[in-house]
């Protein structure tokens, strides 16, 4: 809402307040003033001039040579290019020495050999936006009414000696979508009265009801409809002061009748509509829900198809307006209109909202209806409009109005105790402090033993419950005056859940291992959404995405991390170690919401270790990635429950990928990105993993139980085994661990040999086995017994021979 500082003074005394100090006070009390625009910023030396003579420039077709009286001793010659300049006009003249917006200084000049002492200005040249300039002057200079005084400051005539406050209104404060509403707010802040416009009625012999009948067939959506009739109207431009006020508020002037309806919209917050009575095609207005597929051509010359939940004004047969949104072209006020019907109505917000949304027509009117207008101003707004039309368009207002009224207006009456206010705010206001706040707001208030009974004016439809009154009290009392305390009361233990603690531990471990946390988008393309998914399903799609690239919810994180790797690689950042913990989204049959499963994923590429001056470097390989996972499982106490299984997965290197199993269930994978994919994405050798963190965090973990530090020495035996080349180390390890019995405490591989010294199809694996008994010193015999069982088992189960 744009509020002219000068206009506001019609309703509330602003003496002692500059626009800036007023803005600060308004902001502090709850409505943010987003800016104060000084209309005359960058403007100087523009006066009203009278074009005494105009003739064609002798040397230029498109230029005019004008003699203009600018109130000086003698008229001056000005060359003007505007097509509409003519003798006898009153115009705005930027005299020599004047400054126009953009620091454009007016100097004496010669144009094609003719002297020019100034410039005749269009409104654009005076800094007014083109969209706000009446059509007649859109492409030329502005012509003033004849009664303006020559030599006068043109800026004040145009209302540019004003400042405009831009209010950022929250949806609850639609009461301030009107000058009167703002006046009440300012009046409350300053403790000053609000003056209403005076409405004078002249008696007329003819009655409105003789001209028109109104029938409302949808009274729930339209509980109040008032029609005023004004005849013998002469359509012309509205008075200049009205035009300038409309422009300051951001509305383009049209003609006197339309301008007056807009003026009232700004003054009262009540949207009005004017019909040309003679073009209506009937003597009745019927307000009803539209028929499905019914059509109307609106004022903007667009034919629109209506739906049965749109409210329309009809002439009994066809629609003449979409209620609260836009009038129809068929009944539009035009230059030859003589009889006008002014509609002042109360339309329900929902029905207006529906139509304005469906037709993508958001107007000053629809915005106000949607948020709710003050039902008590409807009639008065209509009366005031009728009066202004008779005043400025020369019409006669017919006696009375035609009304359909099923509206029950009951102002909210809310009781609240002083204690409640102070308890909710933590303040210690007194009865009289609170009472004075309600009085300043011009709410009805009575006090009985510290209980306030407040009658809220209908203009403040946002106030319906106690809490709303508490807010009014708080903002008028001032938030700076509210004390600072901390909640007392029940003591609650603060903590993270077990799951949250595990997540933090997982992060620490991954970061300790050298990985940086990335956060990527959950929304991705259809193609990427399902790549590398652990659980392949159709992705969840947005109904109306902003782009294909962000149209689906991801089922995996790896594709997003590969994007990050690609981005960094493209910037010469080759060694990367990244992880992300975040949700993936799985569509569920028969469920409204997808399952959100937290995953942990990582991408590692480039050098893992690098210490160049010592000549050491090591590239990332499968075992680096696996080592990171082992550390993670160890941190979470899952090592014993985890298995790896060679596996093939789309997009992954078929020989360098493992499924990760938790208690036999696949929970993810680790491995190298398939070389083809690497090439497509322009990546170097990159290793990735993705696991269901949810599964990991939910797996049962035994509590930590101390086991005694061994007091007796251990005995280590190493064995080198020859096995088939296809045998996997993990299997041998398992066989050894099982066969070794209680005494075997540790098995670790220390050599793998697949070289030419081996028989074809064979390889050698060497293990170190550590035996000990917590109760006694082991003898060689004990160990040999256990060790032989191991050898027998590997031979029997894996065909392994001791390497000679």
């Amino acid at each position: 809402m744009f509020v002219s500082y000068k206009w506001l003074q019609d309703y509330v005394d602003l003496s002692g307040m500059t626009a800036t100090t007023l803005s600060d006070k308004i902001t502090k009390s709850g409505i943010e003033v987003e800016g104060v625009e000084k209309k005359s910023e960058g403007l100087k030396g523009v006066v009203i001039g009278h074009v005494l003579e105009r003739e064609q420039h002798p040397n230029a077709d498109k230029l005019n040579k004008c003699l203009v009286d600018v109130g000086g001793e003698s008229p001056v010659q000005i060359i003007c290019g505007a097509p509409n300049v003519d003798k006898g006009q009153k115009v705005a003249v930027a005299t020599v020495g004047a400054v126009l917006p953009g620091n454009f200084k007016i100097k004496k000049a010669k144009l094609r050999g003719e002297e020019s002492n100034g410039m005749i200005c269009s409104l654009q040249e005076l800094g007014i936006e083109s969209r706000l300039i009446a059509k007649d002057y859109a492409t030329g200079i502005f012509v003033f009414p004849n009664d303006v005084e020559v030599g006068q400051d043109a800026l004040s005539v145009l209302g540019l000696d004003d400042e405009v406050l831009e209010l950022g209104l929250t949806p609850n404060r639609s009461d301030c979508l009107s000058m009167l509403g703002v006046a009440y707010e300012v009046g409350a802040i300053l403790g000053r009265e609000v003056k209403w416009p005076e409405i004078t009625k002249e008696a007329s012999a003819e009655k409105a009801t003789d001209f028109i009948q109104v029938k409302v067939e949808a009274s729930e959506d339209n509980p109040l409809y008032v029609a005023k009739v004004i005849k013998d109207v002469k359509i012309a431009p509205s008075p200049l002061w009205m035009q300038t006020r409309l422009m300051a508020a951001g509305i383009r002037p049209h003609n006197n009748v339309v301008d007056i309806t807009n003026y009232i919209l700004l003054e009262y917050g009540q949207p009005l509509h004017a019909f040309d009575y003679d073009r209506l095609g009937s003597k009745e207005l019927v307000i009803r829900k539209a028929h499905a597929a019914e059509k109307i051509t609106t004022l903007d010359d667009v034919e629109r198809e209506l739906a049965s939940d749109h409210l329309v004004i009809t002439n009994g047969t066809e629609p003449v307006a979409i209620a609260g949104v836009m009038g129809g072209a068929n009944s539009e006020v035009q230059d030859d209109t003589t009889t006008v019907i002014i509609e002042a109505a109360y339309f329900a917000g929902t029905v207006v909202r529906k139509a304005s949304k469906d037709h993508a027509l958001r107007s000053e009117s629809s915005a106000r209806f949607e948020k709710g207008v003050d039902p008590n101003r409807v009639r008065e707004a209509g009366e005031r409009a009728a009066q202004l039309i008779s005043q400025y368009a020369g019409g006669t207002v017919l006696e009375g109005s035609v009304e359909v009224d099923t509206l029950t207006i009951e102002p909210a009456v809310i009781s609240i105790t002083l204690e409640k206010i102070n308890k909710l705010l933590g303040t210690s206001m007194t009865v009289s402090e609170v009472e004075s706040i309600f009085t300043r707001l011009q709410f009805g208030v009575s006090v009985d033993n510290e209980t306030f009974t407040v009658t809220v004016p209908t203009r403040r439809g946002d106030i319906t419950i106690e809490a709303d009154l508490v807010e009014e009290a708080a903002r008028m009392y001032g938030y700076d005056n509210i004390p600072t305390t901390l909640p007392t009361g029940t003591v609650t233990p603060g903590h993270l859940t077990d799951y949250q603690q595990k997540r933090r531990k997982a992060r620490r471990t991954l970061e300790g291992a050298g990985l940086y946390q990335a956060i990527t988008y959950s929304l991705t393309s259809k193609n990427k959404a399902t790549q590398y998914a652990l659980d392949v399903r159709e992705s969840v799609a947005l109904a109306m995405p902003m782009s294909e690239e962000r149209s689906q919810l991801r089922l995996s994180i790896v594709p997003q991390l590969l994007e990050v790797v690609k981005y960094n690689n493209a910037r010469q950042l080759d060694s990367l170690a990244l992880y992300e913990i975040g949700s993936v989204f799985l569509k569920q049959d028969g469920e409204q919401l997808p399952e959100e499963r937290e995953h942990v994923a990582g991408a590692i590429t480039g050098l893992w270790e690098s210490n160049p001056w010592q000549g050491e470097k090591k590239s990332v390989d499968f075992y680096v990635a696996k080592g990171v996972l082992e550390a993670l499982f160890d941190t979470l106490g899952l090592t014993e429950q985890i298995d790896y299984r060679q596996s093939e997965k789309e997009g992954m290197h078929p020989g360098r990928t493992a499924e990760v199993l938790l208690n036999g269930d696949v929970i993810g994978f680790v491995g190298q990105v398939h070389p083809t994919v690497q090439k497509e994405l322009d990546l170097k050798e990159t290793y990735v993993f993705e696991l269901s963190f949810k599964a990991m965090a939910e797996a049962a973990v035994a509590p930590i139980q101390y086991s005694a530090i061994p007091r007796f020495p251990s005995i280590t035996r190493d064995i080198a085994l020859v096995v088939d080349a296809t045998t996997v180390a993990g299997d041998i390890q398992k066989i050894i661990a099982e066969a070794g019995g209680k005494l075997l405490k540790e098995v670790s591989i220390f050599d793998l040999y697949e070289g030419e010294r081996m028989e074809p199809g064979k390889k050698s694996l060497a293990y170190s086995l550590k035996y000990f008994d917590p109760e006694r010193t082991l003898t060689d015999e004990d160990v040999t017994k256990a060790h032989e069982k191991v050898l027998a088992a590997v031979k029997e189960k894996a065909g392994a021979e001791l390497r000679g």
């Binding site: 933590g426 809490a467 305390t485 609650t492 993270l496």
Partner: protein, 346 residues
Amino acid sequence: MQERLQELQAEALQKVAEASELKELNDIRVAYLGKKGPITEVLRGMGKLSAEERPKMGALVNVVREEIASKIEEKQQVLEEAAVHAKLAVEKIDVTLPGRPVNKGNHHPLTRVIEEVEDLFIGMGYTVAEGPEVETDFYNFEALNLPKSHPARDMQDSFYITEETLMRTHTSPVQARTMEKHKGQGPVKIICPGKVYRRDNDDATHSHQFMQIEGLVIDENISMSDLKGTLEVFAKQVFGKEREIRLRPSFFPFTEPSVEIDISCKICGGKGCSVCKGTGWIEVLGGGIVHPNVLEMAGFDSKKYSGFAFGIGVERIAMLKYGVDDIRHFYTNDVRFLTQFNRHES
């Protein structure tokens, strides 16, 4: 015989003094003091002496032996020390060369902010509540006093999936779900961090995905002054002890009264600068007293209970705290950005 001994002693001591290596010294020891050495030979020749002279000579032999042995010992220590020194001199390295790099990673700056805030509130008795990122219209809007027709819905253009489900536009639905679980029984003290989504084009100050932390306290006797105090603790912890806060009236459908909370500008200390647009204050939070409709919808008796709620934009905090000038940095994951947040900051 005596003379011979003295000669040997002088000779041996001379050699000891001249020895420059441990091996040489050992040779001297073997040569003079060994079983085949000259002194042993002298001892053997003692048989020819008289019974009176024998003990005298024996004593003299011992004195000579001990003298030589002790000098060897002394010299040995000197040579050993020298050998150690020589070895250490050879082992000298250039300590200014860089150390062996240790791999280290770290949190994303947004996680850093979230954990700092979580820990602060956990210390004040809060628990951390989480919820789904895809929400029902009910929890995202209706349970928060935003019925379908509410005009404030325009304020948050959302990503709908179906008519009834959408990407949550704030973490407030977690508050609604938590309240519901409490079945009308206070107290509730939670903070809810998480990702949220709005229909915004990504640019320097907008992101279609971003993070929020919301807080909610419900108990008997919770007041606006408690919110003010709590957020003052927050401001001082996160932005520094010197910070002050200011409340301005505002509007949110789920709180009444509603406030916006400004924090005094850290850059200029409140005098006014470009970061705070000359006001000395920076808008960081929104909050207020929980709307009685929200309490009632979740099963709390609004006559008995009251509460406050607040919401913080995590990116906004990180941007202010670390001077980040483009919100997209948080989601691009350029490692030159990520690696800037891996150290402690007091």
